[in-house]
Amino acid sequence: MELSFLLMQSILSMAVMVLMGWAGVKSGVLKLEDSRVVAALSLYIVCPCMMLSAFQVEYSPEKLQGLLLALGAAILIHIVYILLTRLLAGPLGLDGVEKGSLIYSNSGNFIIPLVTSLLGKEYVLFTSPFLMVQIVLSWTHCVKLVCPSARLDLWKILKNPNILATLAGMVLFFGRLRLPGVVATAVDNVGACVGPLGMFSIGMLMAGADWSRVFRSRRNYAIVLGRLVIYPALFAVLVSLSRITFWMEGARQVLLVTMLAACAPVAVTISQMADLFGADSRKAGVLNVLSVVFSIATMPLLVMLYQWIC
């Protein structure tokens, strides 16, 4: 209960930052296309620094166990989501963008700041397995969903700055190496900007959205409900059925991080990819905005559910 309340506070405070980005564009201080600069900064510099600094912790067998658990949970839940979406696709007539929006959540720039403020910096580490599974899948499976004729570029996955930073972080973690003080401070401070910058860029994108379109379509509400409530509830139920939180020490906290990632709004990548491959990027953007708005209420509720049944 208390955690859900804290979560709600953190999400609201992130919503304030979104509002500032939105106001920045609306007042003409920033231009709509400036969000690209912020997004590039966020994707190529700030997020990798965050990942690198997450792995700058003392190595311990418990942490390794937690990482493996989070990795297993992330792989499993993505398989479940992909299968479930395939089952639903036929009867509901889901298109590529809708399928992608159901499966892929914004587990990066939305979840990392939340985990930092809720559970502490030392838990950010456990967001990385989910993020890695998601990045690999989104450049293979998701690209195929959004644009069936697209050619897969595996090289691109390896060149993704987040993957590179995670790999570098893991080398340092397992090698028990620490960055020198001057560099470590720089990396930490830069990484701390992930929340504000990510929220600004969401706000700037929202300023370009067509709001009458956002709230009009009933179908969009259904997709968002699926992403924010049904899919994460499924994860909570699966965890509860496995009873893992009762016999493995620390599993409850680690899987809470996975839970947060699973109940996040629709990934921004979906709109970016739709844009890149000529699919319906407007619809993808609308789904994204709508899910961010509703997540303020649904995320705390689902975390409460998780704490109650797991």
Binding site: S13, M14, V37, I45, V182, N189, G195, F200
Partner: protein
Amino acid sequence: MELSLLLMEKILSMACMALVGWVAAKTGVIRQGGAAVLSAFCLYIICPCVNIVAFQVDRAPDTQTGLLVTLAAAVGVHLTYLLLTGLLAKPCRLDAVEQGSLIYSNAGNLIIPLVTALLGREKILYACAFRVIQTPLMWVHYPRLLRPEAKTDWLKLLRNPNILSVGAGLFLFFSGLRLPGIVSGAVESISDCMGPVSMFNIGLMMAEIDWGILLGSVRSWLIALGRLVLYPLVFILLTAATGVTARLPGAGEWLLITLLACAAPVAVNVAQMAEISGGDGPRAGAVVALSTLLSILTMPLMALLYQIIC
């Protein structure tokens, strides 16, 4: 001695961030014009947040005395600098950009992150005291130096987001009001971005500078050294002459912050305003870059000297 070393470490770690910005510009991750976006971001969103956070402290008698002392010191030192520059202008044939470079230091985006890292967030308000004096002066005096026939637009001055937010901060401070938790959480996280974002910005600007002009010009070196060594020395000598640090407990630390502001490199605004009003923008930018590089060495030395003398 210890403080100077710590200062050097922090400055080096900020230099790392500037380097990252420089690399991002050189590799094309951030396209040309990115610096302007980040400047707008800093000026209109991050700086106002910092100004408000700085004054969200308890109004203890001690804090009020400190605020008054740093305000008085800021007034005194700016008067001295204006007089000194007026005296030097004739014999040294200083032009408007050079005079501005000598007087106005980068007391905002360099000093505030440094003070936060060195002395803690509750001390930022003393750095703001310097800016309360510097910001209006820079916007009234420096444009007149650049174009003697120019008129001051007082309304525009009042609408400057930095001045507005300092006003709001002071109001909250003296009325003892605190921002609600959600808003203050957002404002604090945003203000933590000031260091990284402004260092990226400086790095991006440096990537666009013609280093050939810079290193060949002896005059630029002299101006930079004047700003970094001669002018802060004057402040140290004045402080020592008044003997205030011996009489007033706490004054040593308060005035250290003023010294840091006096010993900072040339203000980025000096180049930006020169650009706008048709002055020699590129050369002003070169002096900013040179003084920023040299400050890695000179600032810790000045702090050391201050601690020895005062």
